[in-house]
């Protein structure tokens, strides 16, 4: 055993801190590998359907709130920066900096979740949720234009209760059949929504877990339990946090930017 092991941080079954840090870093990376495969599964499923129904998925994506998503992206990336700065402070033994950066990271993560909350609320308001809500809404919209010609449908004033997306789909589908290039299949829009809610939902849960871990770190810092030798504890959490950030960087284009350019909806 080397002389450099008389640290309260060193766990009994490790030879020295070098080994302990190496184990912790490798361990969390292996966990991240499983996370990547976890999301990889649903990304794979998404890919299959995206290739099958490109048009419907793009249109469906256009009805999502791209503004909030963009703001959230900035939030997450910034939180990654502060998280990395937290490690830096930890390594330098700057407790104040560590404390501030961790708190900032947690705050940005919470801000992300709040915005996400608003977004979900809006989607529910607009009945843009797979299941009966969605089907009632689109059925009502179709009802209104059922007897109209495309020309009339263009000018048709929808009942104020109709949502922008159902109006758009119903109007668009007048006089078209399933296999027309322009046809928007409500069923497939719903399929996209399943992916949207499952993917963002799982990602949101990961964010919440991350916030929890960071707050725990904040507490540990306050209690002075994170000396420089223990920086790897911060690093472990940060690696997880960065991965959740990186996954969002892919959710963003797949879910929100797919329909960018249709514009107008948000």
């Amino acid at each position: 055993m080397s002389a450099s092991t008389h640290s309260p941080v060193l766990k009994h079954h490790f030879e020295d801190l070098g080994q302990q840090h190496a184990c912790e870093r490798l361990g969390i990376w292996m966990f991240l590998a499983t996370e990547i495969l976890f999301f990889g599964g649903i990304f794979g499923a998404y890919t299959v359907y995206r290739l099958w129904y490109p048009h419907d998925f793009e249109v469906a994506s256009a009805y999502l709130n791209r503004k909030i998503a963009t703001i959230n992206t900035v939030f997450l990336i910034t939180s990654s920066l502060t998280m990395t700065l937290a490690i830096r402070s930890a390594k330098l033994g700057d407790r104040g900096g560590l404390f501030r950066n961790l708190l900032l990271t947690a705050a940005l993560g919470s801000a992300f979740m709040v915005m996400k909350g608003f977004e979900y609320a809006q989607d529910f308001e607009e009945q843009y949720v797979p299941g009966p809500m969605f089907q009632r809404e689109i059925a009502a919209a179709n009802e209104e234009v059922a007897t109209l010609s495309p020309g009339e449908a263009e000018k048709h004033q929808f009942n104020a209760a109709r949502q922008h997306w159902s109006q758009h789909i119903a109007r668009n589908n007048v006089g078209k059949s399933e296999t027309d290039s322009g046809y928007i299949s409500p069923q497939r829009v719903q399929l996209f929504l399943c992916f949207y809610y499952i993917m963002t939902g799982i990602h949101g849960i990961h964010i919440l877990v991350g916030i929890g871990c960071i707050l725990w770190l904040v507490l540990e810092t306050k209690l002075g339990k994170i000396p420089p030798e223990n920086y790897s504890t911060v690093e472990v959490v940060s690696l997880y946090w960065h991965l959740v950030d990186a996954i969002w960087l892919f959710l963003m284009p797949l879910l929100y930017l797919a329909g960018a350019g249709y514009g107008g909806h948000h």
Partner: protein, 120 residues
């Protein structure tokens, strides 16, 4: 996989320096560098959004979007996640996770991309 020639870690653990007993401070990030990295990632994110809106849905849009996202994730992994400091096994782990995800995608599509081909 694993490298059978690599020696056990306990013999290769960092040798203590005088002022920095556990070699912790020898690879601290420079705040400036982090700031630059941060700006690059945010920039790319905004480029991705506005470029997508500008181009609209063409068959190039998705590759462009995913390309940018991949670059972003790469930067995050390399600088923020300290892959540049990680040892061989850590890098191997990161790469193999991607490799296995590749297996999943390629073999999924080997079915879905060929389903509608006429059987020769």
């Amino acid at each position: 996989m694993s490298d059978p020639t690599s020696t056990p870690t306990s013999t290769t653990s960092s040798t203590p320096a005088t002022d920095d007993p556990h070699g912790i401070r020898k690879d601290v990030d420079s705040a400036g560098q982090l700031a630059v990295v941060f700006l690059v990632i945010v920039g790319l994110a905004l480029v991705n959004v506005f470029a997508s809106i500008a181009i609209g849905p063409t068959k190039f849009t998705l590759p462009m979007q995913l390309g940018i996202a991949t670059v972003q994730a790469g930067i995050v992994a390399y600088y923020f996640m300290h892959l540049r400091q990680g040892d061989k096994v850590v890098v191997l782990t990161a790469l193999s996770s991607l490799f296995w995800m590749g297996i999943l995608f390629v073999l999924f599509l080997s079915d879905y991309m060929t389903r509608h081909l006429v059987v020769g």
